[in-house]
C-alpha cells in the first residue's frame, strides 16, 4: 500500500498523521505539554552538562564518590538478586510450613523506607547500641567499635528494603512465564533443576533485569540513608554541593554524573533483557510444581523466610513501637508538640496537591490518546513515564535549572527578578519535582483502567454528538474511577514517603514528616523519630497490601506437585 499515488499527493496528511493521528489538536497538545514539563528537568541537567563538557566543575574527591557509588550499586544489586530471586525460588518451588503466608508477607519490607530502617538498624548495631554492648559484655571492653557506619551497613539496609522488587518480578516470572515450556522440558526428560536452569531462568531473565533496574534506580536516588552510614555517593555529592555549599556548578556536574549512571542502568537492563523480549506469557500448563520439604530442611526454609521478614520489617516495627511508647510515657508534649501537626499537614497537603495534579494530567493524557493521538503523541505519553526512573538528585537539580532558565527568560523580557523561585527555594519546586516523578505511576494506573474501555464505546459517544470534554466527563471518567482511585492513593503514599526531593528543594523552615524523621534520626533522637516513622510505615503498607492481592492471586494458580 505504500506505493499508492495518494501518499505522494498528501505529504501533509502524512505529517499530520504522525503528529496527531486522528486525535484532537488541543488534547494532543496537552500530552506534548506534559511530556515537556516532565522531561525538561532532565533536559536541563543534560544540556548544562554538555555545555560544560570541556571543563566540568567537579569537586575534589569525585573519583572516590564514583567508586563508592559503583560499589554500593554492585553490593545492593548482588544482595537483592540473591535475596529476591532466592526467596522467590524457595516459596515457588517448595512446600514448607508457613509458605503461603510468607509468600506474600515477604513483600512487606517494601513499606519500610530505607531512611527509617537505616536508623533503626544503626541504633541497634552502633557502638552504643545493644548488639555491640552485649558483645563487649562477652568479649570485654577492649573490643573497638565495629565498622557499622560503613558501605557494608548501607548495602545491607538498602538490600533489605529493596529486595521485594526483585522478589515480585522473579516470582511472577517463575509462575506465569510459559508453564507450557516448563512442562515440555519435563516431558522431554529434564529434572526440576535442569528445567529451572535451562528453561525457567532464561525466560525469567528479562523480569529479573527489570526488577534489578528498579533497585538500581532507587539506590541511585537515595542520598539520605547512605549518609547515616557516612557513605558518600555521587547523589550525596549533589546534595552536599547544593545544600552544603550552594555550588550550583558542582551540583549540576555531579547530577549529570548521576544521570550517566541512570542511563547506564537502563542500557544494562536492555542488554540483560537481550533477545528475550518476546518471551511468551501464559499458556495452558501446570508449570512449576512445589516439592514438599520435611524435617530440618523444612524448618530451615521457614526460618530463612522469618529471619528476613523479622530483620527487614517486624523487628524494626517492634523497636519503633517501643520507642514511641516510651517517648509518649516520658514526655508526651515533646513527641506530640505543634511541630508534629505542622509537619504532618505539610506532608499531607503537598501529597494531596501532587496526587490531584498527577491524576488530572494522567486522565488528560489517557483521554487524548483515546481520542486517537498519532505516534508523536503516544511517544510523548511514553516519555512522561520515564520520570519515575530518573534519580531524585537529577530531578531536583533539573527543577532548579528549569527555574533558573525561567528567571533568565523573564528578566530578558523585563520582569525584574524573574520568578524569584530559585532564590527562595520553594514549595513550588517540590511540587514540580513530585509531579515529574509521580506522574508515571498515576498514568500507569489510569491507563490500565482506560485499556479496559472498549474503543467502540468512545466512538459511539462521539458519533452521538458528544464533544471530547463531554466524552471525558460522562463516559470515560465514570468508567475509569477505579484506576483514578488507585492512582490517587499510590501518588499520595509515594509523596508522603518521599525524602530526597524535599531535602534538596525545601525552602528554609519547610519540613515534612519524612524530613523530620530524617533530621531527628540524624541527631540520634530515636524516640522522637519513632512516632512519625510509624505513621509513614503505616501509610506505606497501603499499596503493599494492594500488592498482596496480586501475589495471592498468582499463588492460587499454582499448586503442590
Amino acid at each position: 500500500m505504500s506505493t499508492l499515488p495518494v501518499d505522494a499527493a498528501a505529504p501533509r496528511a502524512r505529517v499530520r498523521r504522525f503528529v496527531l493521528g486522528s486525535g484532537r489538536p488541543a488534547w494532543s497538545a496537552l500530552v506534548a505539554l506534559v511530556a515537556l514539563v516532565v522531561a525538561s528537568p532532565v533536559l536541563s541537567v543534560a544540556s548544562s552538562a554538555l555545555a560544560r563538557a570541556g571543563s566540568p566543575d567537579l569537586p575534589s574527591g569525585v573519583g572516590a564518590m564514583v567508586a563508592t557509588t559503583l560499589l554500593l550499586m554492585l553490593g545492593v544489586g548482588v544482595g537483592t538478586l540473591a535475596l529476591g530471586a532466592g526467596l522467590a525460588w524457595l516459596v515457588t518451588a517448595y512446600e514448607f510450613p508457613l509458605r503461603g503466608v510468607l509468600s506474600w508477607l515477604l513483600v512487606l519490607p517494601l513499606a519500610m523506607p530505607a531512611y527509617i530502617l537505616g536508623f533503626v538498624f544503626l541504633s541497634f548495631l552502633d557502638y552504643a547500641g545493644p548488639a555491640q554492648t552485649a558483645l563487649r559484655g562477652v568479649l570485654g571492653d577492649d573490643l573497638g567499635p565495629l565498622p557499622v557506619r560503613s558501605l557494608g551497613g548501607a548495602i545491607v539496609v538498602l538490600t533489605l528494603t529493596l529486595y521485594p522488587y526483585v522478589y515480585l518480578m522473579a516470582r511472577a516470572a517463575f509462575l506465569e512465564l510459559a508453564p507450557t515450556a516448563y512442562d515440555a522440558a519435563r516431558t522431554l526428560g529434564a529434572d526440576r533443576g535442569r528445567a529451572f536452569r535451562k528453561v525457567l531462568l532464561p525466560l525469567a531473565r528479562p523480569s529479573l533485569a527489570a526488577g534489578l533496574a528498579l533497585v538500581m534506580m532507587e539506590t541511585l536516588t537515595d542520598f539520605a540513608t547512605v549518609q547515616y552510614f557516612n557513605v558518600r555517593t555521587v547523589s550525596v555529592g549533589v546534595y552536599l554541593a547544593w545544600k552544603g555549599s550552594y555550588r550550583v556548578d558542582s551540583a549540576v556536574a555531579l547530577a549529570s554524573l548521576v544521570l550517566l549512571f541512570a542511563v547506564a542502568v537502563l542500557a544494562g537492563e536492555r542488554l540483560l533483557r537481550g533477545g528475550a523480549r518476546y518471551a511468551q506469557r501464559g499458556g495452558r500448563g501446570r508449570g512449576l510444581e512445589r516439592r514438599p520439604l520435611s524435617g530440618a530442611r523444612a524448618a530451615l526454609a521457614t526460618t530463612t523466610g522469618l529471619v528476613v521478614l523479622a530483620a527487614a520489617f517486624a523487628l524494626p516495627v517492634v523497636q519503633l513501637v517501643s520507642w514511641a511508647v516510651a517517648g509518649l510515657r516520658r514526655d508526651p508534649g515533646r513527641v506530640l508538640d505543634e511541630r508534629f501537626a505542622d509537619h504532618l499537614s505539610n506532608s499531607v497537603s503537598v501529597a494531596a496537591i501532587v496526587a490531584v495534579a498527577c491524576v488530572l494530567l494522567s486522565l488528560g493524557m489517557a483521554h487524548a490518546l483515546r481520542l486517537g493521538g498519532g505516534r508523536l503523541v503516544r511517544g510523548a505519553a511514553q516519555l512522561t513515564t520515564f520520570g519515575y526512573a530518573v534519580p531524585g538528585a537529577v530531578v531536583g537539580i533539573g527543577v532548579l535549572g528549569v527555574f533558573a532558565g525561567a528567571d533568565t527568560l523573564l528578566e530578558a523580557i523585563g520582569v525584574e527578578g524573574g520568578t524569584g523561585l530559585l532564590a527562595t527555594g520553594s514549595v513550588i519546586g517540590i511540587l514540580y519535582a513530585y509531579v515529574v516523578r509521580f506522574t508515571a505511576p498515576a498514568y500507569q494506573a489510569v491507563d490500565a483502567s482506560f485499556s479496559r474501555i472498549p474503543a467502540p464505546l468512545t466512538l459511539s459517544a462521539l458519533s452521538l454528538g458528544a464533544r471530547p470534554t463531554r466524552v471525558l466527563t460522562r463516559v470515560h471518567l465514570p468508567l475509569v474511577r477505579p484506576g483514578v482511585a488507585v492512582a490517587t492513593i499510590l501518588v499520595l503514599i509515594d509523596a508522603v514517603k518521599e525524602l530526597p526531593l524535599v531535602l534538596l528543594l525545601r525552602p528554609f523552615g519547610f519540613t515534612t514528616l519524612s524530613v523530620w524523621v530524617y533530621e531527628l534520626a540524624s541527631e540520634n533522637f530515636w524516640e522522637e523519630a519513632a512516632l512519625p516513622s510509624l505513621l509513614i510505615v503505616t501509610v506505606a503498607v497501603g499499596p503493599v497490601a494492594f500488592l498482596f492481592r496480586q501475589v495471592k492471586l498468582v499463588d492460587v494458580n499454582s499448586r503442590v506437585g
Partner: protein, 363 residues
C-alpha cells in the same frame, strides 16, 4: 433529491509498511432511506470505509459529503460529533454505567428535558423495550442490547446509520429475528444505512444495493440480484455464492463446453471466442446415465437441497443442487446439463463479458 451520503474518490492508507488495508479511490452514493450492505473478505477495508464516514479517520484524498455538506476533503473537516452519523457496533458498545434510558438519551442532550424524555420513551417504544428503560445494559440479553444500540443510534435522527457487523455477536437462532426487526426499524426511521457484513446471505437479503469490496476497492455496487446473477468479475462471482468455471467456446451465439451446448448467447452472432463459463449449482442439472463419463464424487445433505459434486471427464468439477429427496450416491455416472433458461456468466480472464469484444467479432 440530495444524497444522504456521497463519497468521491476517497482514499486512505495507514502509511508506512503497515499491513493494514487501505481504501482506494472509492466513490459511492447512498440515497436517503436506502440500505447499502458492504461485503468483502476480512481486511478488505470495509471497516475503514465506515470509520472514514463516521469521522474516526481522515481520508488522505477524496471528499465525503453528508446530506450535501462536505464533512471531509478539500480542506473541510467535521469531527464525528458534528456529522449526524449513527453507529452500531458489533458488541453494541452500550455505556455500562448508564441505564438503558440514559444510553438512549446520550445523543439528545441538546434537547430540553421534557422533549428528551419523550424522545427516549418513543425510541424505546419503537424497539419494544420500554419496560427495560431503567435497567443497565448488563441485565439485558444480547438481542435486547442490540435493539438498545440501534435505538440509541437512531434517536438523534442521524442522516446515515452505520452498522458494523451488528448481528455477528448474536446466537444463530436469534439472528434471523433480530435481523428482521432491525430492517423494519431502519425502514421506519427513513435514515440511510450502511451495513457491513461478511455474510453473503445477509448482504443479499438485507441490502437495497450490495457493495462488494476487495483490497480497498469497490469491485461492484449493484442490486442484490445483479451482483449475484451478473457479477463483474471472477472475485465477485465466487465471493457472492458457489460458482464453478468451465472452459467454453462461443460460436455464432451458441455457447458450448465439455458438457455440450450450455445456452445461446443473444447478441453474440458472428462471434468466435474462447471464454470461461460460470455455473452456479442451481443451474446445473443431473441425470443418471450409465454411458456418461461424469461421476458423482461427493454428496452433501443440506436439508431442503442436496449438493452433488460431479467430476467431469476432463477432471473439472461442477456442483449441483438437487431437490430434497434426490440423492445419487458417489460413483453414480451422470449426464450433466444446464437447466433451461439459465443465462450463465461468461468470463475472459478475470473479467466478466457483458458483450462480445470487438476483436472477437471480426473473426
Amino acid at each position: 433529491m440530495t444524497s444522504a451520503l456521497t463519497l468521491t474518490q476517497v482514499s486512505k492508507s495507514y502509511g508506512g509498511r503497515d499491513a493494514d488495508p487501505a481504501v482506494r479511490g472509492v466513490s459511492l452514493d447512498v440515497s436517503p432511506g436506502e440500505l447499502l450492505t458492504v461485503i468483502g473478505p476480512s481486511g478488505c477495508g470495509k471497516s475503514t470505509l465506515l470509520r472514514l464516514v463516521a469521522g474516526l479517520e481522515r481520508p488522505d484524498a477524496g471528499r465525503i459529503e453528508i446530506e450535501g455538506r462536505a464533512v471531509a476533503g478539500d480542506g473541510a473537516w467535521r469531527p464525528p460529533e458534528g456529522r449526524r452519523v449513527g453507529l452500531v457496533f458489533q458488541d453494541h458498545a452500550l455505556f455500562p454505567h448508564l441505564t438503558v434510558a440514559r444510553n438512549v438519551a446520550f445523543g439528545l442532550d441538546r434537547l430540553p428535558r421534557k422533549e428528551r424524555a419523550a424522545r427516549v420513551a418513543q425510541a424505546l417504544e419503537r424497539v419494544g423495550l420500554a419496560h427495560v428503560a431503567d435497567r443497565h445494559p448488563h441485565e439485558l440479553s444480547g438481542g435486547e442490547q442490540q435493539r438498545v444500540a440501534l435505538a440509541r443510534a437512531l434517536a438523534p435522527g442521524p442522516a446515515v446509520v452505520l452498522l458494523d457487523e451488528p448481528f455477528s455477536s448474536l446466537d444463530e437462532n436469534l439472528r434471523a429475528k433480530v435481523r428482521t426487526d432491525t430492517l423494519a426499524l431502519l425502514r421506519e426511521s427513513g435514515s440511510a444505512a450502511i451495513l457491513v457484513t461478511h455474510d453473503q446471505t445477509e448482504a443479499l437479503a438485507l441490502g437495497d444495493r450490495v457493495a462488494v469490496m476487495r483490497d480497498g476497492v469497490l469491485e461492484q455496487v449493484a442490486e442484490p440480484a445483479t451482483v449475484y446473477e451478473e457479477p463483474v468479475n471472477r472475485f465477485v462471482a465466487t465471493f457472492m455464492g458457489e460458482a464453478d468455471f468451465l472452459p467454453a467456446h462461443v460460436h455464432d451465439a451458441l455457447l458450448t463446453s465439455e458438457i455440450g451446448v450450455v445456452s445461446t448467447v443473444p447478441g453474440w452472432g458472428g462471434t468466435d471466442l474462447d471464454v470461461e463459463v460460470m455455473l452456479r449449482p442451481h443451474e446445473v442439472a443431473l441425470e443418471v446415465d450409465p454411458d456418461a463419463t461424469s461421476r458423482v464424487v461427493a454428496v452433501e445433505y443440506h436439508g431442503a437441497f442436496v449438493l452433488h459434486t460431479v467430476r467431469l471427464g476432463s477432471g473439472a468439477t461442477l456442483r449441483s443442487w438437487q431437490q430434497h429427496g434426490v440423492r445419487h450416491p458417489a460413483g453414480t455416472p451422470v449426464a450433466v446439463s444446464v437447466v433451461p433458461g439459465a443465462r450463465p456468466v461468461l468470463l475472459s480472464g478475470e473479467v466478466a463479458l457483458s458483450a462480445p469484444p470487438e476483436a472477437a467479432r471480426r473473426l
